[in-house]
Amino acid sequence: MNVEGLLSASIRYGTPLLFATVGEIITERSGVLNLGLEGLMLMGAFTGFVTAYSTGNLWLAFTLSLVVGALFALIHAFMSITLRVNQVVSGLALTMLGSGLSGILGRAYVGRPAVMFQPVAIPGLEKIPVIGPAFFKQDPLVYVGYVLTFFLAWFIFKTKAGLTLRAVGEEPAAADARGVNVFWVRYLATLVGGALTAAGGAYLSLAATSMWMENMSAGRGWIAIALVIFAAWDPLKAMLGSYLFGFIMSLQFRLQATGEVHVSANLLLMLPYLVTLVSMVLFSINESFRKRIGAPSALGVPYSREEKT
């Protein structure tokens, strides 16, 4: 298994996770917990695939999946922010609705070949020996992933808007007292998070493969949620985490394919989820102190000014 191939595969498998994780980081930074990532990714994958199949225009497909992602996240936002329902259950419902609806509408498109993003090499950079081809000879969405991650890292920690977003997540009462419209910030964050998660799904059906299959996200939404905790709500660490998991997933497929390790396929299929669990355990043992500060303290708690404190 050449290193280059494995590295580029890790990035390809990691990118959908990156989009979803970074999306959820934004949503959770604002204090809203959205467990509906699985549903959002499926809707994103479906919308992307259908648009690509009928129009052949990939970028239109990508944008449309962003729009649909935002729309679906709007349901969760309305439920959690305005109606202040239990965000865990609302997230689960969103996943069911998303996978169900994409299953129904997607039924006719199973097994249809469609157009997909072709790898585009960045002229200068791809010449760099090992990491060149791996990092800079990928499909355009991967580059969008790079740009997005660094932009968000800058946005959250360095800009005023980022400060406001974090404040809304940490101490909504303080933000409210300072004139920040907590509801509007949380709505926006949930919608943007939803759109990015759907984009992760779109990557699956537009770049990773060029076909649609029911429930093709196969649990990636849930791994993304674990990754948010793993990355301690920081986009840069999320990028590292996503590519690490991409590596594990690609390793598992490779082992199956090359048959070098004659372990039955199903045991290998278990690998990504097992690693997520173990990494959360390892992570929380030594970082329990730091993690507690990492998590937005008002995560999952609906805010209302009149609440009798």
Binding site: L163, A167, E171, A175, A177, R178, G179, V180, F289, R305
Partner: protein
Amino acid sequence: MSSTLLEVRGIVKRFPGVLALDGVNFDLREGEVHTLLGENGAGKTTLMNIIFGLYRADEGEILFKGKRVHIRSPYHALQLGIGMVQQHFTLVPSFTVAENIALGTRDTPSRVAAKIRGISEEYGLEVDPHAKVWQLSVGERQRVEIIKLLYAGARVVILDEPTAVLTPQETEALFKAVRKMTSRGTGVIFISHKLNEVMEISSRVTVLRKGKVIGTLERGEFDQNKLARMMVGREVVMEIEREKARPGELVIKVEDVHARSDKGHIALNGISLEIRAGEILGIAGVAGNGQRELAEVITGLRRVESGKIEFLGKDLTNTSVIDRILAGIAYIPQDRKGIALSPNLSVAENLFLRRKEKKVWFNKREIFGHARRYIEEYKIKTPSPATAVKYLSGGNMQKVVIAREFSLDPRLIIAVHPTRGLDVASMEFVYRSLIKARDKGVAILLLAGELYEIFNLSDRVGVIYEGKIVGYTTPDPTPENIEKIGLMMAGVAV
């Protein structure tokens, strides 16, 4: 006479089951400190919340610089120039001071830091702009809140019970800053129920009782007793008659105990103390000096890193909470709703939340029966034993806690700020219950913020500073004693 900054006319506000404000009129002139005096629950904070835009008045109007205004939100109030320092600070702990103040404005944290230094020199409110808020002491956080208002150019500054969390020295510094503000024409509304402070700072005093304005007095027209009478409406029985304590056998011995706070800092730094049966040891000290950790270490809610705790001869250092309850340690925590009670469970259920017997079967009828008995005995005002505790008033909630803790017939009771946020009647009830328990031979550890409370109840007074008892004194309220305690509270060796 300086022009009227702010005027409120005919304000009415109803809360479920209670008429908080009944036609209140109030005005504030430029460069004036107008104190709003009243017991806890008199409606002071509610009125200020209406002015500050947190609540909306049912009736009445607000005029700012003569013009009628509808204040929609705290931010809108701040834009108008009305700022308030609330009891619970609205700061983001994980942000720096500069970041907190920059929040909501268009300036970047770095530019904000420079301006803060200017303000803090001018008003004598030193604070390090780059420190993280969770590292600051309570007093420092209050200073940040005030700077936040001044930074926004507030013309009206409302201070809600500011001194409750300060040492005497810090209180003095605050008053110096307030005088600086009034000299620059800012109107300050000062809310307190500590008469000595009111006497010292107020230009005018308005007394509020049960949501009605009793009267507004200019400086010189009022003295402590007059104000007290107006405030309570009957002779305040400040002195609780109690015989001399007859300390019995040694109940609890804390030896050189070290423990860490939630944030990992050293909270208890080798503290030692002893309490005998039938004795009340009052611990004075500024909040955040280890009082909470001391209580938690004794009740088993916090791990002891080193040192020993002996209770009736048995070593209880790191035993479980349930062992401590069975041994006879009762605990009345400061945070009623957060720690002591389960808001959504019924009054009856809360009365048996902390219990000794190891019964398996939960018999609802039996429990309700016991509950009714306690409700009569402690005169808890509740529609029925089945009502959720959160619908009770502060006083009644505390009665539930006391009823439960006393029902365990403890040998030691730890009470932290037991009367915080209670009306006078409830306060008296708490004091009488504690004294009754003491006379029955129960050892009591009282951790309170108000000095007068400690003087009223304690037989011995200890002062805690940075996790250690720095000294003991007698509970008599002479000025020298207060001075001595004040210094000790501030860590000055006496």
